[in-house]
Subunit: 204 residues, 2 copies
Amino acid sequence: MTTAMREVGRSTRELGGENISRVACRIFRERGYHATSMRAIASALGWQPAALYYYYASKEELLFRIMENAVDTLAAYVREHVDPESSATERLRQAISAHVTLIADHLDELSVFLHEMKSLSPRRREVIQAKIARYEHIFRDILRDGVVSGELARVDTRLARYLILSACNWLYNWYRPDGVYEPDTIAVAFGDMILNGLAATERR
Amino acid sequence: MTTAMREVGRSTRELGGENISRVACRIFRERGYHATSMRAIASALGWQPAALYYYYASKEELLFRIMENAVDTLAAYVREHVDPESSATERLRQAISAHVTLIADHLDELSVFLHEMKSLSPRRREVIQAKIARYEHIFRDILRDGVVSGELARVDTRLARYLILSACNWLYNWYRPDGVYEPDTIAVAFGDMILNGLAATERR
């Protein structure tokens, strides 16, 4: 096989992979991973099952690639939107905003990502969990910086991180692309509420 | 059948139902609803499948009863812990605390409740969703009261409700009964962070 042929082969695989992933996520989200067969995914793509096995050796490999891609995409997107020169408060807003926006734009993927961890083999689950932990360090570091600099209150930063990520993650459960809220509106409102709280104060 | 016999019959059903529900929730949570058979649940109870069908006509009826019980229990528990005479701020703390405590004490049930909505038939899903909507009204009313009375900032109360319930619901994903946090600690910290926000202010 020439290099050019390998390149073409790889592009096709990647394009195919992207399409498979999108279709698979939609079906996994609707029916759940266990209730979905490779045959059903192939059929939704208008393919024979054998064509699907050309890309993924098993349904679990397909799930793993979806989850790996979800966490990698989320981490890259949030890192890209957090300006290391900004204050902790600003970085927290940037990170919340990026996380919310990405979830709103990838509801199926994030829903599968957040629901199907239990369906991975222990070894693969570990790989994904290590990536999630690294992703969450973005928030951990911002919160710690903010407490140290005095910008943020002396809260338990781990519970603060859980609170923030929970609020953002749960979005996939209630957000509707055709609903009343734009992702930006939610992102700004969540940033405000998380930073300023709900209690009325003199400063408002 | 005499009334007394019906009473005894009902108690046995209820006791059996409670045990089935606990075991079924554990297995549904571990493997997912679709991957779990009635046979597997019966086997975990040390029963023949026929004994399980004495209580529930189908696996979906079992799921429905679990979900109905989860939302009814949550709603009753939170209503019981919210003192209608308290200020909106206090009621919000009470409701957050009750929701967090109940989730921490019923991780399997709430996990199934929050994951398996898609596995219900449309008609039964509607019944559960109507109950959830009524439950969420507790939070909606507290938030509205607080904004009207001026205790709470003029936030979008729907987004505030989503933020609060998301943070509380997601607990089932990270909370470990043998971990470092007591449910009460989480409840108080979440109440504080949600009301006061993370930003440092003069009042701290």
